[in-house]
């Protein structure tokens, strides 16, 4: 109910702004909706959204898996931490644009380059978060697991993983928003399809309704995925914690 009101408020604000600024720079909602419908009817909207989503899923999964493993290792093993730390600082501070451009130069304008570049951008934050989580692990519970001879795999699943849960959720959350932003840049610079590519086209043609149609659909998809997937996962990861009032 509140969400609906919030959405209506957005529409109204947009409409009023469109009336004030003028159709050329900011088309009103119906004009954008019309473009959305024609793009949907031709199928282009879904193809491009699908391509973008596939890139998001792949690079996100890659970066999360790799980042979690590296972060866990760095949190557990001092030597790994020492070796990895300078790389981490470098990657954390490397602008996304540099990574993407270099990836396209070195690996060509390929899908692999795009996905790798997006993953590399997300990787360091996942590593940092998981390293922090690993450092915060409760040693006394490890001792308990050792004393009771709980097998390693089982101990990892039931003793370690639940402690890392909130950190994984946090890494996923911040990582996903990073990926949403970067994937469009990567597409804009070197892919022949996807929401980023279409926005590039719209920019060159100065086709503002097209630009808005893609941007808003994309935003809507992000919103849905965040509410339907990410938030329940976060709740689940923290469900044993005492709830805040």
């Amino acid at each position: 109910m509140v969400r609906l009101l919030s959405f209506l408020l957005f529409l109204v604000t947009w409409w009023i702004a469109a009336l004030l600024i003028g159709d050329v720079k900011l088309p009103a909602p119906p004009a954008v909706l019309k473009v959305m419908l024609t793009e949907a009817a031709s199928g282009a909207l879904f193809v491009n959204l699908g391509a973008t989503l596939a890139r998001v899923v792949l690079s996100f999964t890659l970066a999360m898996a790799l980042g979690a493993a590296i972060g866990y290792l760095m949190g557990r093993v001092k030597l790994a931490d020492k070796i990895g730390d300078p790389w981490l600082i470098l990657l954390l501070n490397l602008p996304a644009l540099v990574v993407i451009v270099l990836a396209y130069i070195w690996a060509g304008l390929t899908e692999v380059a795009a996905i790798a570049a997006i993953a590399v951008n997300k990787l360091p934050t996942a590593v940092v978060t998981l390293r922090e989580g690993t450092r915060a692990l409760d040693r006394s519970l490890d001792e308990m697991a050792t004393v009771f001879a709980i097998p390693r795999g089982k101990a990892f699943r039931h003793v370690i993983l639940p402690q890392l849960g909130p950190y994984i959720a946090a890494a996923a959350r911040s990582g996903l928003s990073l990926v949403w932003k970067i994937v469009l840049v990567a597409e804009y610079l070197g892919r022949p399809n996807g929401v980023g590519f279409e926005i590039g086209v719209a920019f060159q043609l100065f086709d503002i309704p097209l630009l808005l149609a893609y941007s808003l659909t994309f935003a809507a998809v992000v919103l849905v995925i965040e509410t339907v997937l990410v938030q329940p996962f976060e709740l689940r990861a923290a469900r044993w914690r005492p709830r805040a009032a």
Partner: protein, 236 residues
């Protein structure tokens, strides 16, 4: 089955690099079926010693030999339950083979039945301690380590649990080590008492209690207690 302990030294180094001696001379042996009780001032190194005996700390001078096959059950000084698992699941994780009958029995004995599905965050410290006890007993240990298991329980419950521990100890032949500040617990449960010095801990005296646990009368227990108090005073 027998535990042979000869720890000649254990120290910690603090952040400033200063050496901090914690254990000095701990030498004893313990047979299956025996309960060894350690009594000593707070901070003297009892938990540190138990950690070494449990095989959690290998960084010490001396030698500890315990039977490799011995199944270890331990009640740490803090309950150490997994906050994200219910009471029952906490126990089942440590004792995956326990059957329903034995589990209900344990819960009944420790008066935990109605807390079975609660999470540790919903338990009082006393309840959590009882869960930790249940977990240690659930695995049917050959070697049982109890670090102040009855602290923070009221007298009546402590006395009740003391009896339960006695029953469980009698029920199978295991090596049991108990650390306590409570002389009642020590005399009621122990076969041999070890009096420890202040840090770094040494065994000052070993006091055997020859009468079997089940046949100790109230007057005998009081007698031994008075004797212990006298010995302690003599040390100061």
């Amino acid at each position: 089955m027998q535990l042979e302990v000869d720890i000649t030294g254990k120290h910690f180094e603090n952040a400033a690099g200063e050496r901090h001696d914690v254990l000095a001379g701990i030498k004893f042996s313990l047979h299956a079926g025996e309960v060894g009780v350690f009594v000593g001032p707070s901070g003297c190194g009892k938990s540190t010693m138990l950690k070494i005996l449990a095989g959690l700390d290998h960084n010490y001078q001396g030698k500890v030999s315990r039977p490799a096959v011995a199944r270890l059950g331990m009640v740490f000084q803090e309950p150490r339950l997994l906050p994200w698992r219910s009471v029952e699941d906490n126990i089942r994780l440590a004792a995956p083979h326990i059957d329903e009958k034995r589990l209900s029995e344990l819960f009944a004995v420790l008066e935990l039945t109605e807390h079975r599905s609660h999470f540790p965050g919903e338990l009082s410290l006393g309840l959590a301690r009882r869960v930790a006890l249940a977990r240690a007993f659930a695995i049917d240990p050959d070697f049982l380590i109890l670090d102040e298991p009855l602290a923070s329980l009221d007298d009546a419950l402590a006395a009740h649990l003391r009896e339960q521990i006695a029953t469980l100890v009698e029920s199978r032949s295991m090596m049991t080590l108990l650390v306590t500040h409570n002389l009642d617990d020590a005399v009621y449960l122990g076969d041999r008492l070890f009096l420890l010095s202040a840090r770094p801990a040494r065994i000052l005296q070993e006091v055997p209690i020859p009468t079997p646990r089940t046949r100790r009368s109230a007057s005998e227990i009081n007698h031994i207690k008075a004797d212990l108090v006298r010995r302690r005073l003599a040390k100061i």
